[in-house]
Symmetry: C2
Subunit: 137 residues, 2 copies
DNA sequence: ATTAATCCTATCGATTTAGTAGGAAATACA
DNA sequence: TGTATTTCCTACTAAATCGATAGGATTAAT
């Protein structure tokens, strides 16, 4: 399941990308427009800023803005920050690899092979999709 | 994340498929061979039996056996039973569709579009993989 | 009878999820 | 200078889910 955090985060990024202005966008505006609990969104925006996707400005007329072109923001990166590893099991994760407790040899594990396929097909989608794609339409 | 339940369930099915005999396979045997807690596996086998993948025989020399040929057991079906919906959001689920609270119009939702792509690519893998594929090698 | 197996219900501790609360710090503007 | 507005930060919490475990009932073979 996709977490609400990720879903809200993606919607917020899309909202900002669609605006296409220089002026920072406020949490309150996004929250109202996208039906996202404001306080929850606040913490999500913080995550997105700390991971480099967003810049922020405090105080009156402050808010958040994109730090890269939407076409340069790939879903692989956004998903990893918001949702965590793309792989469904740590033993096939490219970025967060971990051995399974129960597997003596993962190359003989049937689940392993299946999950590599799932990982690769999902990765293909995320690598081929940028924020620009999400916000166009 | 793939749940342990699903992982163990897949391993157990693979184990039984590899045996290729008529004799039922016992939980204790699978549990030892695959390093799965026996009591936990017990409840998983029950699920797999109730959903029709496995048949069982009680008492001495009892155990579990496949009710279909491995090549007829598709990952789409196994995954749905063990892990639940394949889609990452209910609003793109083929079998468990549900509208999102926050979306006025899902056809304009950027997350929706992305998740349809992920669902389709994952589905493609699961539809193309049977238990026979998992157990060969 | 005894043993060996599945069947069934209930419970439990840990973790994760989806928030909420409350205030500090910075900024714009009158 | 003061006030309103915004992000920033830490901590907390209720509910759900996960990964089991416990204990016994039922069924079948020998």
């Amino acid at each position: 399941m996709l977490s609400k955090k990720t879903k809200y985060g993606l919607k917020a990024l899309t909202y900002i990308a669609k605006k296409e202005g220089d002026a920072p966008v406020q949490i309150s505006e996004i929250s109202k427009s996208e039906n996202i609990p404001q306080k929850f969104l606040e913490s999500i925006m913080l995550t997105l800023r700390k991971s480099g996707f967003l810049g922020s400005k405090k105080g009156k007329h402050g808010g958040y803005y994109l730090r890269q072109e939407p076409s340069d923001i790939l879903m692989t990166d956004v998903m990893r920050v918001l949702e965590g590893p793309i792989a469904m099991v740590p033993c096939v994760s490219l970025n967060y690899y971990e051995k399974c407790d129960d597997c003596p040899d993962e190359h003989q594990c049937s689940v392993h092979k299946l999950m590599i396929q799932v990982r690769d097909s999902t990765l293909k989608v995320f690598r081929n999709t940028s924020l620009a794609d999400l916000s166009s339409s």
